[in-house]
């Protein structure tokens, strides 16, 4: 029977990807296809390969074996095309400690182009950091850093959002706000890959699930 996804305009097409760190295989023969607008919940124990898979999809790291295409662009050939359409919310927040919240966002906006500048105040307001916009990130709590990292992700208006433990470090109000943001992304047609240990919350937000165990797909 032919693969129904074959030939379709896939958002994510991962073919037999493996990633090795030293002697350890963090990912082993993982394949995955997502259509535009799909939302995938990525689950697994610590060290199961969730973060590695998200980094491979974002082109932060290159796979040791296998092929990755995002919106038709090959990760080996055209990383920049992928990076323009993808945003990663990671454990590392990519923030400069000595810049203010607003300066961090304006830096990214300058790299993205003039249109993004106008969004900065709106996004600071959206993540509840408007009053602290001029404060250095160094003064922020872990939860505030996470909110700013979310604003950074939204500024990119990604077509594929990769969210690694998006609820971590957030208080209950922050978690509720994050759920709202993820729903808005879905409604806007953004393809989502969400890695979390909070399976119930994740399942409420995603239509598909992929469980990783020791770098391999254990359940799909």
């Amino acid at each position: 029977m032919p693969d129904p996804l074959e030939g379709a305009g896939l958002a994510v097409d991962v073919q037999d990807v493996s990633k090795r760190y030293g002697r350890r295989w963090a990912l082993a023969h993982v394949s995955l296809q997502l259509r535009p607008g799909d939302s995938l919940l990525l689950t697994g124990h610590n060290g199961s390969g969730k973060t590695t898979l998200l980094k491979v999809l974002s082109t932060t790291i290159a796979p040791s074996l296998g092929a990755v295409k995002v919106f038709g662009s090959d990760a080996k050939v055209d990383r920049e095309a992928i990076r323009r359409r993808v945003a990663l919310l990671s454990h590392a927040n990519y923030l400069y400690e000595d810049l203010s919240a607003e300066q961090n966002l304006r830096l990214l906006a300058r790299l993205l182009g003039d249109d993004a500048q106008a969004q900065v105040p709106t996004l600071l307001d959206k993540v509840g950091l408007k009053a602290r916009a001029a404060h250095a990130v160094r003064e922020f709590s872990a939860g505030m850093r996470k909110r700013l990292a979310v604003a950074r992700l939204l500024l990119k208006r990604p077509q594929l959002a990769l969210l690694d433990e998006p609820f971590g470090e957030l208080d209950p109000a922050g978690i509720a706000q994050m759920e709202g943001i993820i729903r808005d992304l879905k409604t806007g047609g953004t393809t989502l890959v969400l890695a979390t240990h909070l399976v119930e919350q994740g399942q409420a937000l995603c239509s598909r699930r992929l469980h990783l165990s020791e770098g391999r797909v254990a359940q799909q």
């Binding site: 923030l95 000595d98 830096l107 790299l111």
Partner: protein, 225 residues
């Protein structure tokens, strides 16, 4: 995004961080001043000998400070994986190289300029060929240290012994640049009756062209996986 525009954004970011903290410039200034003082104490009490070696002492102070400066410029990129954030923005790796290397060169040039009055007082020298020529020589020397220094600082930033690795990698490469910068600066100080300055400046320019070209071409490979 245009490579030069991206480089300008990265440079402006580095200058803004420097301005907000001023930690790096202050530390470098005190470190280099201490180095200049130590050379004057450790060297001969003969003022003519100190005067003769003044250019060398100035450039050694700048060279030692450059290791701290360039290491620090990549420490802020390692914190929170900010460099990955720039890569994923996406900023062209060549823009990142140019922006950071320009920033390092500006900082080293500023440092060298600030050290000049102290060199004049400590080593009793005069600028026989004038200040503009000295500023130009200092600029070429700062650019020559920064071009290979930036790429090696990015390599060393991922290593465990990064503080040791950077000078070990960088100093041997910089011998021709250091030699040219010291000789050119010495001629600006002492005068140039044999018209040798042009040759040393040309050597510095050639060094700059080679290493800025190499850095521009190789940096993407250094920071990608």
């Amino acid at each position: 995004m245009n490579i030069l525009r991206g480089a300008w954004v990265i440079l402006a970011k580095d200058m803004l961080i420097e301005w907000r903290t001023r930690a790096r410039l202050n530390a470098l200034l005190f470190f280099s001043l201490a180095t200049l003082f130590l050379f004057s104490f450790a060297g001969s009490s003969d003022t003519s000998l100190l005067r003769q070696n003044a250019a060398g002492y100035l450039w050694l102070a700048v060279l030692f400070a450059s290791v701290l400066s360039m290491g620090e410029s990549f420490r802020i990129e390692s914190e929170n994986s900010a460099l990955d954030g720039l890569r994923l923005a996406p900023a062209d790796p060549r823009s990142i190289y140019l922006g950071k290397a320009w920033g390092n060169a500006i900082l080293l040039w500023t440092l060298a300029v600030v050290l000049v009055p102290f060199m004049i007082v400590l080593y009793d020298v005069s600028l026989t060929m004038g200040l503009p020529r000295l500023l130009g020589t200092l600029a070429l020397g700062a650019l020559a240290i920064s071009a290979p220094g930036t790429i090696h600082a990015s390599i060393a930033s991922n290593a465990r012994a990064r503080d040791v690795l950077l000078p070990v990698l960088l100093f041997p490469l910089l011998v021709p640049a250091l030699l040219s910068a010291v000789r050119a600066t010495a001629l600006v100080i002492e005068g140039d009756p044999m018209d040798q300055l042009t040759s040393w400046v040309r050597l510095l320019i050639v060094f700059n062209v080679i290493y800025w070209g190499l850095g521009f071409a190789l940096f993407p490979r250094v920071i990608e996986d």
